[in-house]
């Protein structure tokens, strides 16, 4: 049965990604330490300088740590998405992407499965982070922890698709530094992850404009509202649309006749 084939392939791809992640313990620790440093050091330092007024979804005054937690969840997924795109470039050079591509399944499905696998891993990281944050005193409502799951699925898919897109167009991501400088840092800093939009508007009009249309902002807002049991419809639609666009372009990039593989894979 065809449907079983798809299901088995999907679960095979996901479990491979999870095993890889669990075996590479340094990666797991690094993935957790990064947002924790931001939470424990950066946010704690800024607590006194940044006052956050009551804005939805928050109903009381909040500490800065509480404000940046959703942004840090987004950061985990952003890093993860870029890292898996990097591993895809590396994979392709190592040939294991080719192994995936010769599987008798449509390419769009294979790329989507790869994306689901990456997102799954990023959600494991996100919940590990939320667990530690909980012990530190950042305790969103319990049902929020449940609602944040679908939000993380969509934001993870969107950021993963962006990574996939980059991996199909960029010939060689020689090191992570390039991606950090040109993708991760701009996306992260020019977003609502660290400061709310109205606060950005006070200081810089263009930054406000960029942050507003940055898909990462919308992913973070989606997560932020979900964490408090609320749905931000605008963020949902925006993130969903960004996912569809990135994914279609990525599939195009991996298409054997139209894509960029041709220009790259010589020799």
């Amino acid at each position: 049965m065809r449907i079983f084939h798809y299901w088995r392939a999907l679960s095979g791809i996901v479990s491979r990604e999870v095993w890889r992640f669990l075996y590479q313990r340094e990666r797991f620790i690094a993935a957790l330490v990064r947002p924790l440093v931001w939470l424990f050091v950066f946010a704690a330092g800024f607590r006194s300088t940044l006052g956050i007024a009551i804005t939805p979804p928050y109903e009381t005054y909040i500490l800065y740590e509480v404000y940046i937690t959703p942004g840090l969840l987004g950061m985990i997924q952003l890093f993860n998405g870029m890292q898996s795109s990097l591993s895809m470039v590396y994979d392709r050079e190592m040939g294991s992407m080719r192994i995936l591509m010769v599987a008798p399944l449509p390419r769009g499905f294979l790329l989507m499965a790869k994306l689901v696998a990456g997102t799954f891993v990023s959600i494991l990281q996100a919940y590990a982070f939320l667990g530690i944050a909980w012990l530190y005193g950042i305790q969103p409502p319990l049902d929020g922890l449940l609602w944040v799951f679908p939000a993380l699925v969509l934001s993870g898919m969107m950021l993963g698709a962006l990574g996939l897109l980059l991996s199909s167009f960029i010939k060689q991501l020689e090191n992570f530094a390039g991606v950090m400088n040109f993708v991760i840092f701009p996306m992260f800093f020019m977003s609502t992850a660290l400061y709310p939009l109205w606060k950005i508007k006070e200081s810089s009009e263009w930054l406000y404009w960029v942050a507003q249309y940055n898909p990462f902002s919308q992913a973070v807002e989606l997560i932020r509202f979900a964490l408090y049991g609320q749905l931000n419809q605008y963020a949902l639609v925006y993130t969903g649309a960004a996912f569809v666009i990135f994914m279609l372009l990525a599939i195009l990039g991996y298409n054997p006749s139209k894509g960029m593989m041709m220009r790259k894979g010589r020799g």
């Binding site: 079983f4 084939h5 798809y6 088995r8 392939a9 679960s11 095979g12 791809i13 479990s15 491979r16 095993w19 890889r20 075996y23 590479q24 050079e93 190592m94 040939g95 294991s96 080719r98 192994i99 995936l100 591509m101 010769v102 599987a103 008798p104 399944l105 449509p106 054997p256 006749s257 593989m261 041709m262 894979g265 010589r266 020799g267």
Partner: protein
């Protein structure tokens, strides 16, 4: 999974008038090649002859624009999924996950081909036993030497019982005894399982006398036939001589 029974009589690989260029540089020029079931075809060519391009086209990494490729009668473009299901590939670079165990690597491949866990484990046992690697299935791939990694990769390529096995210089970087054992294993596969093999190499000592020999040079096929025929046509005594006659002679 499984063999395409209705197409058993069709050639495992049919390539007709295949041309391919990177910009203006021609990599393949009107290549014709047919491989029948139970035929071991050795593709011999110097570096840059077009072997990798040919493999990239057969595995559909690139699309062929001029010419046609069919696997077991399935057109690689129009019926790509059916065609790919009949194909097993061993790429030049190792494509196993070093952090995962042999078993995990093979199960992953079996899942991509839609096998159930039970089917997969059964096939994995059969293939690993054939290559005397079953007792090492729980080891991480990182711990295996080059020759053993290759054996696992060949076993992996065979899990879904392909009709055609593609091997892209699988013995590069291996020591003499590992090389010999892999060459012998693959030839035994052709004989016992009636599988068709396309083996790219630049090492003449990997060729058996009754293999089909195809010499590719500058994107063109210079010789195509059983080893003895090629020797006869070129008036040479060894494959090495025939090879240099066809590649160096033409170039000058």
């Amino acid at each position: 999974m499984g063999r395409c029974v209705k197409t058993m009589k069709k050639p495992a690989l049919e390539i007709e008038q295949l041309s391919f260029a990177y910009g203006k540089k021609k990599a393949l020029d009107h290549v014709n090649l047919t491989i029948q079931p139970a035929e071991c075809c050795i593709l011999l060519g110097p570096n840059g002859a077009g072997k990798s391009t040919l493999f990239a086209l057969i595995t559909r990494l690139y699309d062929c624009r001029e010419g046609r490729i069919a696997l077991c009668g399935f057109d690689i473009k129009r019926e790509s999924l059916k065609a790919l299901a009949t194909l097993g590939v061993v790429f030049q670079q190792t494509t196993l996950d070093p952090d995962l165990t042999v078993l995990q690597n093979l199960r992953y491949h079996a899942a991509l081909h839609g096998m159930s866990r039970k089917q997969a484990d059964q096939r994995i046992q059969q293939e690993l036993e054939r290559f005397e690697m079953y007792h090492r299935r729980k080891e991480k791939v990182r711990q295996l030497n080059g020759g053993h990694k290759r054996r696992v990769e060949i076993a992996r390529a065979l899990l879904h019982k392909p009709q055609l096995l593609l091997l892209d210089e699988p013995t590069v970087g291996l020591d003499m005894s590992s090389r010999q054992s892999i060459v012998a294993h693959v030839h035994a596969l052709v004989k016992d399982d009636k599988i068709a093999v396309l083996w790219a190499t630049h090492l003449v000592d990997e060729i058996y006398p009754d293999d089909k020999l195809v010499i590719l040079h500058q994107g063109k096929i210079k010789a195509n036939g059983v080893v003895s025929d090629v020797l006869q046509k070129t008036g040479t005594e060894t494959i090495r001589e025939a090879f240099s006659h066809l590649t160096e002679g033409m170039a000058s």
